[in-house]
């Protein structure tokens, strides 16, 4: 099972196995990783699973979808590497993925 490293705003590190096909949001929520709220449950409708994808991983993770782009427009402190974790599905290629969480989900 591919591993994902989640880094909280306070630099606390969580390494979690996320099954292929699950989203990076689900990987956090199902393993009790704090810092991802996921209010809408993965419908790309709230922007409370905002993460920063480590630069090395950006190309492999792919680009934002249209609706994701729109919802991220309302999140705080977005950066070019901001994504909604519910829109990143785990694949074998993402083994070792690193994401950081923002100060708060908003």
């Amino acid at each position: 099972m591919p591993k994902v490293t989640y880094i909280e705003y306070n630099d606390a590190v969580h390494e979690v196995d996320v099954p292929i096909g699950r989203s990076v949001m689900q990987g956090a929520v199902e393993n009790g990783v704090p810092g991802i709220d996921a209010d809408c449950g993965g419908a790309c409708a709230c922007a409370t699973c905002h993460v920063y994808v480590a630069p090395d991983w950006l190309a492999r993770v792919g680009s934002r979808g249209e609706r994701e782009e729109e919802m991220l427009g309302f999140a705080a402190e977005t950066q070019p590497n901001s994504r909604l974790a519910c829109q990143i599905k785990m694949t074998a290629e993402l083994e070792g993925l690193v994401v950081r969480m923002p100060e708060g989900q908003h």
Binding site: C40, A43, T48
Partner: protein, 415 residues
């Protein structure tokens, strides 16, 4: 709700021909008897058309997933104020004010972004200690051994102080904000002659007051308050007076009625569910989850409205361009297909944030985290300071199908 009225309501809701059910009837909300109607619609007609109801003809969407589908499809379901905006009542056309919640992209996005930094995580962290010191002062000033109205002394006081801070509004005049909020959300009944005009005249006084603040701040350096942000942001600095008023009403109502009614609802639910209150008292780590549950269970705005700008099929029903579509958050939050035991108040749910009270999609509540923070701090301080609060009478509820709230809740704190 007393036992007889709910039984009667249940019988009436079951007997009424489906097409006659009119959820815009404010009495259903004042008497808290709307529940059996929602239950019936979710079961028998989840996408329900009421022709010629009190607020005209409209579709009622009552199930969680259908509401989510409408809320996230802003390309078809418009919030545009000139089409009727976001509440069920259709104001006379000249009184339909633009405000960013009642706009579609791209203008909505630009204006929303002008004010959203005030409730971003960094600014919330700065507000926390202020909210806590105010919550403490309010709780410590409450009378002991006498009955008082929790709505007035706690719910209104805490939220109005916060709102005054966000606007940098003269603190001694802050109850004007409460008053204007109530004026804005009180929809004249069809038999009230001149009701809309009277409402409008009061709101123009609000505009006058805030125009003074605008003029002070537009000539000063940009500051971190909502009026200054609106006066300096390229997206909002050239607004017409009516658009300024529209956005003020939005921010006043959004920052006032909602949290106020969740504060009151929370106390009522804890009093009705002593086992849940005990669970939270014994484990204060549950406060954030309890707060989400309070917001779900209360659902301080019962609905949001959209207007279809294209024909679309939803749940097997044909919605036509121009139709009024009402998403009943209050009902979706009690949909047992999505939320387990939805009629029970449970402070430690597995997914407490899964509720519709803030809406979803691009119009989702911008102040949601501030609202949660105010409620969390208040409950933390209540647990620290007040061992027992007794609800000593029935709450009085607001007669509105939009603001789902209370005008009074009599309580007593034993010394």
């Amino acid at each position: 709700m007393n036992a007889i009225s709910i039984q009667e309501a249940r019988a009436q809701a079951a007997a009424m021909p489906l097409e006659q059910i009119d959820l815009s009837e404010p009495e259903l909300f004042r008497s808290d008897t709307v529940w059996p109607y929602f239950e019936r619609l979710r079961r028998e007609a989840p996408i329900h058309y009421r022709k010629d109801g009190r607020q005209g003809s409209f579709w009622s969407i009552t199930k969680y997933n259908d509401i989510m589908a409408v809320d996230t499809n802003h390309a078809v379901f418009s919030s545009e104020s000139s089409l009727g905006g976001i509440t069920m009542a259709d104001a006379p056309p000249q009184m339909r004010r633009p405000m960013f919640i009642a706009m579609d992209p791209p203008k909505h996005d630009e204006q929303r972004k002008a004010v959203s930094p005030i409730v971003a995580p960094g600014n919330l962290a700065k507000l926390e200690s202020l909210i806590r010191s105010r919550a403490v002062a309010i709780l410590d000033s409450l009378p002991r051994n006498e009955t008082f109205n929790w709505v007035d002394k706690v719910s209104i006081e805490l939220t109005t102080q916060m709102l005054a801070t966000l606007f940098d509004f003269p603190f001694e005049d802050r109850r004007l904000l409460t008053y204007w909020s109530d004026v804005a959300t009180t929809i004249p009944t069809p038999d009230q002659v001149g009701g809309w005009e009277k409402r409008d005249a009061e709101l123009r006084k609000c505009l006058e007051y805030f125009t003074r603040l605008w003029n002070e701040r537009v000539n000063a350096e940009p500051a971190n308050d909502l009026v200054s942000m609106l006066a300096h942001s390229p997206a909002t600095r050239n607004m017409s007076p009516m658009e300024y008023l529209g956005n003020l009403v939005l921010l006043i109502v959004g920052g006032n009625d909602t949290t106020r009614n969740s504060i009151t609802g929370g106390l009522l639910f804890m009093s009705q569910n002593p086992d849940q209150y005990r669970k939270m008292r014994e484990n204060p780590k549950l406060i954030p989850s309890a707060v989400s549950e309070i917001i779900r269970y209360q659902t301080p705005l019962a609905h949001m409205r959209r207007t279809a700008i294209a024909d679309i099929e939803l749940g097997g029903k044909q919605i036509r361009k121009g139709d009024k579509v009402v998403m009943w958050y209050l009902s979706g939050n009690r949909d047992d297909e999505v939320i387990e035991n939805p009629d029970r108040f449970i402070v430690d749910r597995a997914r407490p944030r899964q509720h519709l009270s803030f809406g979803f999609g691009i119009h989702r509540c911008v102040g949601n985290r501030l609202a949660e923070m105010q409620l969390q701090i208040l409950w933390e301080e209540i647990l620290q300071r007040i061992p027992q609060i007794e609800v000593v009478g029935e709450p009085e509820r607001v007669a509105s199908c939009f603001v789902h709230g209370f005008s009074s809740l009599p309580v007593r704190i034993p010394s």
